[in-house]
Symmetry: C2
Amino acid sequence: MRRVAVAGVGMTKFGVSEKSQVEMFAEAAMEAIDGSNLKARDIQALYLGNGLGDFEEGQMNLAPLCAFELGLPVGAPAVRVEGACASASVAIREAFIWVASGFYDVVLVGGVERATAMGTPLATRTFAMGADSRYEGFSGVTFPGAFAMVTRMYAEKYGLPLEVLKRHMALVAVKNHKNGVKNPLAQFRKEISVDTVLNSAMVADPIQLFDCCPFSDGAAALVLAAEDVAKKLCPQPVYVRGVGQGSNGPLYRQRDITRIRAREEAAAQSYRMAGLTPADIDVCELHDCFTIAEIVASEGLGFFPFGQGSAAVEKGETAIGGRIPINPSGGLKAKGHPIGATGAAQAYEIVKQLRGECGDRQVAGARVGMTDTLGGDLATLVNIIYGV
Amino acid sequence: MRRVAVAGVGMTKFGVSEKSQVEMFAEAAMEAIDGSNLKARDIQALYLGNGLGDFEEGQMNLAPLCAFELGLPVGAPAVRVEGACASASVAIREAFIWVASGFYDVVLVGGVERATAMGTPLATRTFAMGADSRYEGFSGVTFPGAFAMVTRMYAEKYGLPLEVLKRHMALVAVKNHKNGVKNPLAQFRKEISVDTVLNSAMVADPIQLFDCCPFSDGAAALVLAAEDVAKKLCPQPVYVRGVGQGSNGPLYRQRDITRIRAREEAAAQSYRMAGLTPADIDVCELHDCFTIAEIVASEGLGFFPFGQGSAAVEKGETAIGGRIPINPSGGLKAKGHPIGATGAAQAYEIVKQLRGECGDRQVAGARVGMTDTLGGDLATLVNIIYGV
């Protein structure tokens, strides 16, 4: 296996866009290709994460359309992968092996989604297809409902008064909005307070509106290259040091939804490959689709003992400057969540952090970073560790 | 790179099924796992081709649901890939690299689709999302229409009277139905005549009903294993000798739709990796979504000079017993076309042929076989060469 580096990254502003998915992805991809000092004709394959392009734009088989728009060679395979909200991270792991194995030297990977066109209520129901449709879908389970159950189980399991947990969850939102203000590509760039969260509309009791990430349009992309190639292309290659992916059954078949088994497996795989432990991670972008999701993820990745991720937020341990800064980009909560692009946007942030290019939101001295992306009803989990 | 073998294969009967996609895939996958003398817990990853599970069953992120149903380990990544009708062949190529690279020893791969539930007219419009939605979709282009254009351009380019071409196309259907009679898993097991085709309903002039493959429900699966592992598992491993994949822009951006550039690139890649030429292929399963598609594919793969694939059908060169038997399974035309499963079903047939297990439809002495799978409006093309 060869070492694999990120030679360049690109990302659109997240939010509401009038552009097509092909156009958004092309924008992010050209930034990544230009930043790698390459031309589109140099790219040997494309891996594209996309969740529901068919529902959003009546478009399936999106990958070759993106490849053609960019001017990639006809001989370059263009592959769309779908793992619900984890699609782009699944794509990065696929792209990784083609370079690590020596088959390709330079591969483009990323994700795109145009999730806002349907509006939030319909999008919420539509993206619930990422959960089990046979039993959960017909029971009306949507993702806010699923994470409402996680919240109640977390409070119950750890004997935490719900009011205390809800305050800690609100602090996750406050932190991520504060970080988002410093990210020019974030969808929401406005600070909020604990009261903003606790006074917001109830979505799925006890999940309130400001506990939820938005739906977003956007794209992000990376160029992965073999180590020797990357060293010639760019002054600051960032390396993929570990990858991991796990798979769970649907929510209704899981014993303890406060712990995502697929995450524990995926994280263990990525730490093992990197030869690192949670204590070695300097910065992490993780899947805060809901505020409670950030708390359980911070435990599942090993940053805090189970049941203590909640209090850690209040202590400021996950803020920029804290022990393990989480979601300095603003996270899904403030940066936005274009489903199929999210994993690539997390990678974009980590690469920028490890290059020291994050300005006001820079995590000082960050040398190792991690991404964590969840797809479906706790069903797909991808972790990737990057290092300089 | 290690040699990769197929240790086991499985396939459901194709046709109309009341089973869910998870159930159909589980049936095919368990046959492949049992046939490999493995247990589900031995599988290290799953690659699943699926086209439109969201439209068909309201189900996205299908792969981990299949993995869970089968009892695969939580640490096994489950990845859905979508390349329209080529989805399963894209999945096989992805599974291949994880084994070839030495990362995994045993990987499950396949595809599934439940395409009949919407009925053919709606399915035709829905699957047209595999073509370009921005320009072609709004112009009303569906796949029968696209291949009607291919037919007219083929006749024009090669100076072939349309009546002659249409007779040759009808002979493709007659041959594939004849083969399908001998395949217990085929959807249509009834011989037809040239008159059956030429008297059938007009779908998109000059494509008639019997020039078209059906929509189908079904699943197929393979277990890929490293050579040394496969040799211990099964008496007759079949090897993946070459893989290739190409990508084109949409139909409306292509200069000559009688030649699919992505196919010519993909075929060249697979021949090069295998160290073989078209003359070395003993049997081929190719993408006869329409009768004209079989003719242009037989040329694009190098079996006949461009413009001569049509006459070759009349000479019987593509029949079982002919120079290069094409679609002994009955092809998409008679065996059926469950979109996301088709590439895996082609692989199933080639593996069975190379093992000499095809009974009445056996191609005598077949030692090298090839699959050819087309996705979208000539946009994705995957070729895989298998050998004993």
